[in-house]
């Protein structure tokens, strides 16, 4: 199993540009998540999905959109990039949402908005 994969690894955007961060998992997990990690701030949940076709906002959803058309894929869309979106983005997945189920993380995408 490859686990959770993310592309690209790095990206530089200009203000106002758009892009999609890709996330794929091959563990047949129902639940998927997008987090952003800023220095000294830990991880903040952006969006999550409980299954194909179902998504919901996390703690910091403004400026982002998601979709979940398949169990495997959970892309994150930035429509109008802003410097405040400079961060490292992690996708994760888990089999369950309740309980103490482990979340499995991808390697991350480092995004810089100039």
């Amino acid at each position: 199993n490859a686990g959770v994969t993310q592309t690209p690894k790095f990206r530089i955007l200009k203000i106002g540009q758009s892009m999609t961060l890709q996330c794929t998992q091959d563990m047949n997990h129902n639940y998927m998540y997008w987090y952003r990690q800023d220095p000294g701030m830990g991880l903040k949940l952006i969006y999550y999905s409980v299954g194909a076709g179902i998504t919901d906002k996390g703690e910091v959803p403004n400026g982002y959109n998601v979709s979940r058309s398949t169990t495997e894929d959970f892309p994150l869309r930035l429509e109008l990039a802003a410097p405040s979106q400079t961060s490292v983005y992690f996708c994760a997945s888990s089999q369950d949402f309740g309980g103490a189920d482990t979340q499995y993380f991808g390697p991350g995408t480092r995004l810089t908005v100039l």
């Binding site: 959770v4 000294g40 701030m41 830990g42 991880l43 949940l45 999550y48 996390g58 992690f90 994760a92 949402f97 309740g98 309980g99 103490a100 482990t102 979340q103 499995y104 993380f105 991808g106 390697p107 991350g108």
Partner: protein
């Protein structure tokens, strides 16, 4: 809602010395507690977790954490660290039921020779 506090942003330690990384949480319901580790330029991976039962949980690489309900703490310890333990460590908490995982701000462990 749950919250996690990791008071130490950075902990420098010499190789083979013991270390403790502190984690305190707050919650109005029963919780599950986790420690995740992030090695440089990698994603997070689970180190250990507390579900119920024995308050002392161990990882495969020598770390252990003890759940202390009265002090609402879940400190991570290792009796002798290696250079390869250099990483950022995140404590996380999740309430019972349909609750989201909440992360602390992380503690960077720096092990030097």
């Amino acid at each position: 809602a749950q919250s996690v506090t990791q008071l130490d942003s950075q902990v420098p330690v010499f190789e083979e010395a013991p270390v403790e990384l502190r984690c305190n949480y707050s919650s109005s319901v029963s919780v599950y507690l986790f420690w995740y580790v992030q090695y440089p330029n990698q994603g997070l991976q689970l180190l250990l977790k507390y579900l119920s039962g024995s308050t002392l949980v161990e990882s495969i690489n020598g770390f252990e954490a003890e759940f202390n309900k009265s002090q609402t703490s879940f400190h991570l310890r290792k009796p002798s660290v290696h250079i390869s333990d250099t990483a950022e460590y995140f404590c996380a908490v999740k309430g019972e039921g349909f609750q989201k995982l909440v992360f602390g701000t992380g503690t960077r462990l720096l092990v030097s020779p």
